[in-house]
Amino acid sequence: MTRVAVVGAGMSRFGTRPETLRALFREAFDECLATVDKGVAVEDIGEAYVGSVGFGGLQLGNLSALLAHEIGAAGVPARRVENACASSGFAFRDAVAAVRSGACDLALAAGVEKMNDVSGLHQRYWLGVSGETEWERLAGLTFPGVYALLAQRHMIEYGTTREDLAAVAVKNHANGAKNPKAQFQREITPQQALAAPMVADPLGLFDCCSTTDGAACVLVAGEDLARRLTDAPVWVAGAGAASDRLAAHERPSLTRLDATERAARVAYAQAGVGPQDVDVAEVHDCFTIAEILAVEDLGFVPKGEGGPWTAEGRSRIGGDVAVNPSGGLKAKGHPLGATGAGQIRELFLQIRGEAGPRQAADAEVALAHNVGGSGATCAVHVLTKEVPA
């Protein structure tokens, strides 16, 4: 099996963007291409995987062809990958698999979503498309409600507090303030977070990520090509993924995401590392409780201790593990289908020491954790500075 590395990564600025879907994709791809140190031709891309939920319904069919054409890669085998908010985490997984298998030397993993050009009522439709539709949704739940139920059980079973949740938001906003591509580049105080209006008890406005327009692109290459394209490839040492029951209430427990545990187990094993080795992680914090579940299910901290661990500052840049130095979904923004590729782009910068004021020191082992829905799908990748064994 060929070793695989990320050789380039870029993203559009995330936020409310008046530009078209195609223009956002172009913005991300141009930056991605520019980060390939020794340059690469668009024609060398052998496969393209584009993650998108199709929010708004603008181009549900054949989106990948439209975007391949946009970046001058018409002709490349392309397809859309849909796994809700984990769409481009899985697009990245598929691109890695294509290169690992030898099917191609260079693959594009990308994601794009434009969420802010439809009315509030249609946003409500689309925000619910990835939950369990017949029962969960018709009980009156969208994701804030589902994650609120998880948060409430976590509070009952482990004593997690609203202050612990607020600590996640405060940390991620502080990180986002250092990220010029983030949707929210400002810090918040715990008081602000706690005083915000309730969205779904116990989750307030600052416990929830926003709706975001954005795109992200990543190029992965086989070892030989990677070494020709750059002196600083970022190695994909482990790739794990899993699925779980779509409706949260049908799972045995509401306080863990089994898909995260399963995906992480595979990724760690492939990489030959454990959670204690991870220096920096981009985890799926669509809600503050989701980051607490993630740091537990990924093994950074024992189950139930994610809240206090975060509140003590252990996951800040400079802490035990820098969690979401980009600002995470919370502050960087969450353009559903673009989020997973955006996480890889952040870790590409971190491993190469190019993350500027939000750089985690000595970042050699990085982990990306991308979740679809309330844990129905999950992709975990371990990226390393050193060539994997």
């Binding site: 439709y125 969208t142 998880l150 989750l203």
Partner: protein
């Protein structure tokens, strides 16, 4: 409409000894006082103190179902053994088959749904084998400020007729609790019959009307207009929107599970599931149909605030505010998720006991979609 002093059923002795064997009533929890009404419009009827107001998720159908379920369960009658005769005014016309679906009486039959005269009902009933369910239900339809609005209240009364039951009284007066319910329209003569049976100390199950009237909550006049949908939503749902949307056929297939808690149990591991899976998701075992007992426990609960409601419930939230959604644990480890109604959302706690109630969910493709919600037990 037949009023006080005359018999609701048209008088006369029932043929074949048919009589009332049980009674069920259902009244909405929300109440509008005459003082509130007077403050809004300057006047209120003197013979009515309060009116029952249907909540946003209640209508003549849900009230008729609730009253009927009570009338049957208080006598331990199996719905499948009952022939139904429904009579209703106000609100949407009741769909006969839907009503049978809701009761689980699909194997019985519906004789009539049109407004029908009591003597005709009794004559028809006498020709039928088994008990007959006769139900009337009404919700206010008066416009704001009208004399109708000032008198009308919502409620349903179901009578089960069978051999050996108490004879229908020859003459009846107005039930005194009309002061507390408002005029029940089509259901008022039925309510008056219930009153007459009580006065006669008849041996009929379910005459304790106080139980279904208890626990009322007084609300402001404006709130009643919101609950009654008189103050309409600014942007109703598109008929067949893009994005996630449950088509009618898929919804219809879920009715046994939604309305009657008909799910399945795994023959191998015993775990219950609602709705029924094709195989047990836990162990892969074969499943058998299982109707869940109508009770559950709150396992987790949240209150959905602005912005967190799916578009189907955006209208409800705008009209009557935040609502509670709970994961409810049923028998045999089954868990379902649903709204909890008839309660102040923030007072619900994990561990609270709840019971199912059929309510309106939302309206799309020209039809109301009803489904099971939950409410605190004994509410």
């Amino acid at each position: 409409m037949i009023r006080g002093g005359k018999a609701a059923h048209g008088g006369g002795v029932p043929p074949s000894g048919l009589g009332v064997v049980s009674v069920g009533t259902a009244f909405p929890r929300l109440r509008l006082t005459s003082d509130e009404l007077k403050a809004a419009w300057g006047a209120a009827p003197k013979d009515i103190d309060e009116r029952c107001i249907p909540a946003f998720d209640e209508d003549a159908f849900t009230l008729a179902v609730e009253a009927s379920r009570r009338a049957l369960s208080v006598r331990g009658l199996a719905p499948a053994s009952v022939v139904t005769i429904v009579r209703t005014f106000g609100g949407p016309r009741l769909d006969a088959l839907r009503f049978q679906d809701a009761l689980g009486a699909a194997e019985a039959g519906v004789v009539a749904l049109e407004p029908c005269h009591g003597a005709g009902v009794l004559a028809a009933a006498a020709t039928l084998a088994g008990p007959v369910l006769w139900v009337a239900s009404s919700v206010p339809d008066g416009s704001p400020g009208s004399a109708e609005e000032a008198r009308q209240g919502a409620g349903a009364v179901a009578l089960v007729l069978g051999p050996g039951g108490a004879p229908l009284p020859a003459t009846v007066g107005v039930a005194p609790w009309r002061r507390l319910t408002g005029d029940l329209g089509a259901a008022q003569p039925f309510a008056d019959v219930v009153h007459a049976l009580r006065e006669a100390k008849a041996s009929v199950a379910g005459l304790a009307v106080e139980e279904s009237l208890a626990g009322g909550r007084r609300v402001s006049y404006v709130r009643t207009l919101q609950e009654r949908r008189v103050l309409a939503a600014a942007d109703p749902l598109p008929s067949e929107p893009m994005g996630a949307f449950v088509p009618w056929g898929t919804y219809e297939a879920s009715i046994p599970a939604r309305w009657r808690l008909e799910g399945a149990r795994c023959a191998a591991c015993g775990r219950g599931w609602l709705p029924a899976p094709t195989r047990c998701p836990d162990c892969g075992g074969q499943t058998r149909p299982h109707a869940f007992a109508p009770r559950g426990t709150v396992h987790a609960v949240t209150v959905i605030g602005r912005g967190a409601a799916p578009s189907e419930f955006a209208e409800q939230q705008r009209a009557v505010g935040d609502y509670a959604v709970a994961v409810v644990e049923l028998e045999h480890g089954a868990r379902v998720v649903g709204q909890v109604t008839d309660v102040e959302p923030r007072t619900l706690k994990v561990g609270d006991e709840v019971e199912p109630v059929l309510r309106r969910l939302y309206e799309q493709q020209g039809a109301v979609r009803y489904g099971q919600k939950w409410r605190p037990r004994g509410a």
